[in-house]
């Protein structure tokens, strides 16, 4: 392969064209590349993308492969059992209990965080000294690792010496009992992630155009009318982005719930992720754990696809491209 070298021509700038009469390349001219190298270049440029794709897909394909094996710690030489793990998991009442817990957790946490986040964003949008302080304080829960946040809350929930029972005079009320543990887990999630929604929506509100609001103000529209007819439709794509992030995240909830209750009492807070962790890591039934994860992935994929569709529609509507 010929190599183009950048050499200065002794006689200064010559006529147009890459090469001088002696075949050397003129200053500023593009390097000479052989036809073969030119044809190969796009493929070489694609190699990093291919490597990244394989890097992303490898663990996923490995997990899917595990889910069709009977691989456990006590059976380290597994063979393919095809869909036996799926049949076993789908017949297991613990799996359906986990689906129910995951669904309740995801829906409740997302709804509460969204409503609170939007309200907080609207309040913070009114520029004031207190608002500016709150904006900075608001981000603190997001800066704490969920495991640490859950540990702090677990101490606060303690009926013996926890601050909550002391302040509210609740005696020995058990925040993490079979009947209350899921609600308490949602409370902790709301505490950590409502600021995320608020910050995202606040950024959205601040990017909205002023003109429609000024025009409706001139026309004498009230605050509620402007909020309902102008602000909310324009804010909707930002709210939906927050909903998508939070809902996907809640479907995969693990860390703070595990710290608070380890999925108990009984099955009261056993989410699908906790089920997968128990099977894979504690019980070392790697194939069954992978099956849980694969089923969770299907759930997340379908939900994400639906919500992204809704988001697209909302964006088109906000842009006036669709009624």
């Amino acid at each position: 392969m010929s190599t183009a070298t950048a050499q200065s021509s002794p006689g200064g700038p010559g006529p147009a064209g890459p090469d001088g009469p002696d075949g050397s390349r003129r200053r500023g001219a593009p390097p000479k590349v052989s036809d073969r190298a030119r044809k190969l270049r796009p493929y070489l440029l694609s190699v990093p993308a291919l490597v990244v794709v394989i890097g992303i897909l490898y663990p996923f394909v490995l997990g899917a492969y595990y889910s069709i094996l009977n691989y456990t710690a006590s059976n380290p030489e597994p063979h393919v059992v095809w869909f036996a793990n799926f049949a076993s998991v789908l017949k297991d009442p613990q799996f359906w209990a986990s689906v129910r817990v995951t669904a309740i957790f995801a829906v409740a946490a997302t709804v509460i965080e969204t409503v609170l986040g939007v309200v907080i964003a609207l309040l913070l949008n009114r520029s004031s000294f207190v608002g500016k302080i709150f904006e900075r304080v608001l981000i603190l829960p997001l800066m704490i690792a969920p495991v640490i946040a859950a540990t702090i809350w677990k101490l606060m929930f303690n009926p013996q010496f926890g601050v909550l029972n002391h302040v509210f005079g609740l005696g020995t009320f058990d925040w993490l009992s079979k009947d209350t543990a899921l609600a308490s887990s949602i409370l902790v999630d709301v505490w950590i992630y409502t600021p995320f929604v608020a910050i995202l929506v606040l950024a959205g509100i601040r990017s909205l155009p002023r003109e429609p609001f000024e025009a409706s103000d001139v026309d004498g529209a009230g605050w509620w009318y402007m909020f309902r007819r102008l602000m909310l439709p324009m804010m909707w794509p930002y709210i939906l982005v927050a909903v998508i992030f939070r809902f996907m995240d809640c479907l995969k909830a693990f860390d703070h719930i595990f710290v608070l209750t380890a999925g108990g009492p009984g099955l009261a807070t056993r989410t699908l992720q906790i089920g997968a962790y128990e099977d894979s890591i504690i019980f070392q039934n790697f194939s069954r754990g992978s099956t849980y994860m694969f089923l969770l992935w299907i759930l997340v994929f379908i939900t994400a696809k639906y919500l992204v569709g809704v988001l697209g529609k909302a964006q088109r509507r906000a842009a006036g491209a669709e009624e």
């Binding site: 394909v61 490995l62 094996l69 710690a73 020995t172 504690i282 019980f283």
Partner: protein, 469 residues
Amino acid sequence: MTSPSRGFSRRDMLKAAGLVGLGSTVLPSLSACGVGGGERHPNGASEITGSFDWKKLSGQTVRILQTPHPYQQSFQPLLKEFTELTGIQVVADLVPEGSYFTKLNTELAGGSGSHDVFMVGAYFIWQYGPPGWMEDLKPWIANSAATSDEYDFEDIYEGLRTSTSWDFTPGSPLGTGGQWAIPWGFENNVVAYNKAYFDAKGIKPAEDWGNFQQLARDLTDRNEGRYGVAFRGSKSWATIHPGFITQYSRMGCKDYEVKDGRLVAGMASEQAIEFQKAWVDLAREAGPASWTTYEYPDCTRDLGNGNAMMCYDADSATYPKNKPGASKEAGNLAWYAGPAGPDGSYATNLWTWSLAMNAASKNKLAAWLFIQWATGKEAMSKAVGTAFADPTRKSVFDSTFKQTLGAFPGYLDAFEKVVGSSKIQFTPQTQFFQTTQDWSVALQDIYGGDDAASRLRDYAASAEAKVNV
């Protein structure tokens, strides 16, 4: 769509490359990466010949995987003595207890052999042993070229030697088969109590189960922030293994019995149901208010803070709370064996941190020399003098350890009362972690209001199906 006249386009090429890349790179390597745990490794003891010499591998390095623990901490300053004795450098990697077994499991499953020696509990042998991840140490102990004449394996308490030995046949008793680890430190599950409070009120520890329950209830005053007895209740196998299985065994109950080659669950027998219902009632009426989240640090914290008047857990977990300055109640605590069974039984479940050799280790003699040194009389005697609780050797207990127990009233008596019947009270089986965690879930459900008899019958049926697969 590709035009036929264009032939093989760049896009087609990329698609094909992607598929070939996935097919040729990913799929064949799936079975080689992570699945299978690598090959089974032959035992290395027979390769060691000649006379025993600590300096045989001078200049080499042994890598050990540990979790921070009083046992490990008491040995840490002594590692240089091992290097002086053998010329072998020790690289000790520490992983926090919360993620220790995840790390260990991943490493053993991968078959990399990057650590030669690791800390392990007895129950884990039931899981890591069958796949061939652990070296059988029996041939090493028997090989005089590898083991010093002074080692004296029989000096280790019998209940501990058998707890780390099994033939991997579900239901087969412990003590059969290979020696998969050497006990390094251990814990008996007995009762620690607030002696200062007991003395002030003129209360004596209860010696039988009925009086124990009554005493715990009498000691409870929620308004005063005081309750009778702390014991674990979280959703974990570790809830079952300390006080619960100890008292369950003392009451004559069994987890499984072998009948016609099958394990038959005993958790739903009339006697077992009665005991478990009483245990959960005790938790509700005289236990910690958030029992279903309680792990051992919560129990010992409440004992040390003066909230719990008694604590039914590992002696070495409660022991540190009595050291000067270690807790509010330091100096006020004492121990006793706990309530005896109806027939006077002091059957006690033990936990042992043991040292095991990675079957995939490339440096097995160095690994064995380290294990031999750490579980030997000399090193253990020195470790006991610092922070070590419950040495596994009778000679060390009788000499050095007894001298350190002056400020720990009742500890020695409790130890001596239970040590003869202290062993693993569970029936060994490979589904231990799942079935035992399920047991804790059943207790939590009963605590939450489920009918004890029907919930335990469901649990027993499910456990029986799992262990007999």
